[in-house]
């Protein structure tokens, strides 16, 4: 349904330097699938999500949606045209709602994309959606500052979903929330996905949550997808050394499991994505590095639908 082919985004840094935020990434997302995208901060996962909904232009590659090529750079009319079908839920529930608009204004604005102006019908839809995300219809006259983080995140979800899009990019929708509220939002998304037939790109750094909600999981490191496959397969049988270390670093909420675990923390820190060399991006931190890692890593099919980019797997 959504196919990304060799997509890249470079940000100019001046003096001929370029930051390779997303570098030659291919990913396809099937209808009604949830694809989880994980990686550390700066790995390019948000940039990738924003390119899909047209908030960033792309420098190379194609993104096609239902067989239709999306424009490289969205113009105002492209945003209007695609916003009905492509929506985004933002990470920061504090910054993504206009503080000077009431909840009614915020939610009805997205309905106007569909050209719905009948006041009674709009009010009915807003009421219905506030209930669907677990808020009270009386809340529609309030302003964003009157709500808690979890409640704002629900408003962001209602805004994205009420025009019934087909595809939603969820950029860290739960990382700003408390544990008990995270589970509420995850369950809400799962229910809405089932009832509306949504396709989701779920961006997060919480590996356990991504494994839980996703059908497939893609791991990004410094602008590259290093491993991609069925979520449980990637989580429980990781092949790329980075994925292995990432999952080994992920703490479990179980004291006995944590005590018995021998964690070898990953060495060093993420290197710079400015003008990277052609070799494997993870080579400087990889415990199994060899001389051939200076060459571009091959993409290896590990099993049906599970791929990883590493020389060692070749």
């Amino acid at each position: 349904m959504m196919a990304l082919t060799n997509v890249s985004k470079f940000f100019p840094m001046g003096r001929g330097k370029q930051l390779h935020a997303v570098d030659d990434v291919s990913l396809s997302i099937g209808k009604e699938q949830v694809v989880g995208l994980v990686g550390e901060s700066g790995s390019g996962k948000s940039t990738l999500g924003r390119m899909i909904v047209g908030l960033h232009s792309r420098d190379q590659g194609d993104i096609s949606y239902d067989g239709e090529l999306l424009p490289t750079r969205f113009r105002a009319q492209d945003h209007l045209r695609y916003a009905r079908r492509l929506q985004m839920i933002f990470q920061d529930p504090y910054a993504s709602l206009n503080p000077r608009m009431t909840i009614y204004d915020i939610l009805s604005e997205s309905l106007s994309l569909q050209g719905r102006t009948d006041a009674a019908a709009v009010t009915r839809a807003v009421t219905e959606w506030l209930k669907a995300v677990g808020l009270h219809p009386d809340h529609m006259t309030r302003y964003p500052h009157e709500f808690s983080g979890g409640q704002r995140q629900r408003i962001g979800i209602a805004r994205a979903l009420m025009i019934k899009p087909d595809f939603v990019v969820c950029d860290e929708p739960i990382s700003a929330l408390d544990v008990s509220v995270q589970a509420q939002i995850i369950n809400l998304l799962s229910e809405l996905k089932a009832s509306m037939g949504l396709t989701l790109l779920f961006i997060a750094h919480d590996l356990s949550m991504v494994r839980y909600i996703s059908d497939r999981m893609a791991v990004m490191y410094l602008g590259k997808i290093v491993e991609e496959g069925p979520a449980n397969e990637v989580f429980f049988n990781p092949q790329h050394p980075y994925t292995q270390l990432l999952i080994a670093s992920n703490p479990e909420p179980d004291p006995a499991a944590e005590r018995s675990r021998t964690v070898v923390p990953i060495r060093g820190e993420v290197s710079s994505p400015v003008n990277p060399g052609p070799g494997c991006r993870f080579a400087d931190r990889c415990p199994n590095v060899t001389t051939q890692c200076a060459l571009p890593p091959p993409e290896v099919i590990v099993s049906e639908g599970h791929r990883a980019s590493c020389h060692l797997l070749n």
């Binding site: 544990v179 429980f236 479990e252 499991a257």
Partner: protein, 333 residues
């Protein structure tokens, strides 16, 4: 407890705001055992940070007010005015956001050295050398060069290491870590937690760890205190808290987490949201969200009750002898 190094009793903190008085911390008591890690867990706004800030004298007064309580460390009350010297010397603190907690206009080495000059009366030169060796102990590569750099030249993980180096400068008996890894990526989080554990083994210091991440608690803690709406609702060993949760809130938390041991378990969230601390409920703070609430819960605040023979305690009416036994999830026969 005989080996308790810090003993907090009946701590209560209030804040004056435009909306009224917020009772942020209500009658919190706990003991920190020497050489161990106590984790204080809870959701945002439950009072966990305010609790430790009041121990460190970091509550802005006004609008804050410590209305009640004692915190005994070496027979001295940390909440009294004259305790400033003790805190600087014997207690260190690291904060959630390393980017905003260090002075951006001072070199890293100077910031660490300043602590030593003030508290240990080191000479500048001696303090500078000591700062470099502290950076080396926290595994910062090229510590000599790094000490001359400014915070903006450090990554988030390195800044957190620098802040740990600063907190350790005076070899504190107690390290308070307020969400030390929340702003960091999971691989860097693993490095920082590992570093804290190694340093604890080397120095024998005690750690108070504030976090909302139960996986970090499982990794680090010996003892756990679960806070909700300004109160400690359950306290016990880390095994008690995870394997024998007694308070309905803690039981709810355990069900709301993903488990990779049971990959297919469905998450059950806790409905609703925490109470308004402008007017804390008359009875139990959790009763509006509690699936087992009884009429007594709305009327009378429950008290901490021993759950078993060990230190495991929970603040819930379901532990009372008159509570119904039928389907009572917290009373064990």
């Amino acid at each position: 407890m005989t080996d308790s190094i810090l003993s907090v009793r009946d701590l209560a903190v209030e804040f004056d705001t435009f909306g009224g008085v917020v009772k942020a911390v209500r009658n919190v008591s706990f003991d920190l055992t020497a050489g161990q890690t106590l984790a204080i867990v809870g959701e945002s706004g439950c009072g966990k940070s305010v609790t430790v800030q009041s121990l460190m004298g970091l509550i802005p007064m006004p609008p804050g007010r410590i209305t009640h309580g004692r915190a005994l460390f070496k027979d001295q009350d940390l909440l009294s005015i004259g305790a400033r010297g003790i805190r600087g010397h014997h207690m260190g603190m690291i904060f959630q956001d390393p980017m905003t907690s260090l002075n951006p206009t001072m070199r890293i080495g100077d910031q660490i050295a300043e602590t030593l000059v003030v508290h240990k009366q080191y000479s500048r030169k001696h303090a500078q050398d000591e700062a470099v060796s502290l950076l080396a102990r926290t595994h910062i590569p090229e510590p000599g060069r790094r000490a001359n750099q400014y915070p903006f030249e450090f990554s988030g993980g390195m800044l957190q290491r620098a802040m740990i180096a600063q907190a350790l400068a005076c070899e504190p008996a107690i390290l308070i870590a307020d969400e030390p890894t929340t702003a960091l990526d999971v691989t860097i989080q693993a490095q920082i937690l590992e570093l804290m554990q190694t340093l604890q083994q080397d120095n024998g210091m005690s750690i108070i760890l504030i976090t909302h991440d139960l996986a970090v608690v499982a990794r680090m803690a010996d003892q756990v205190a679960v806070m909700y709406a300004g109160e400690i609702v359950e306290t016990g060993s880390v095994e008690d808290i995870f394997y024998q949760p007694a308070h309905p809130y803690n039981q709810g938390l355990q069900q709301a987490m993903t488990s990779n041991q049971q990959p297919d378990r469905v998450l059950s969230p806790i409905p609703g949201s925490p109470p308004d601390l402008f007017s804390p409920p008359k009875g139990c703070g959790y009763c509006k969200r509690c699936p087992h609430a009884m009429s007594v819960c709305a009327e009378h605040p429950p008290y901490l009750t021993a759950v078993d023979a060990s230190s495991h305690q929970s603040r819930c009416w379901l532990h009372h002898e008159l509570a119904p036994v039928h389907n009572n999830p917290v009373r064990r026969p």
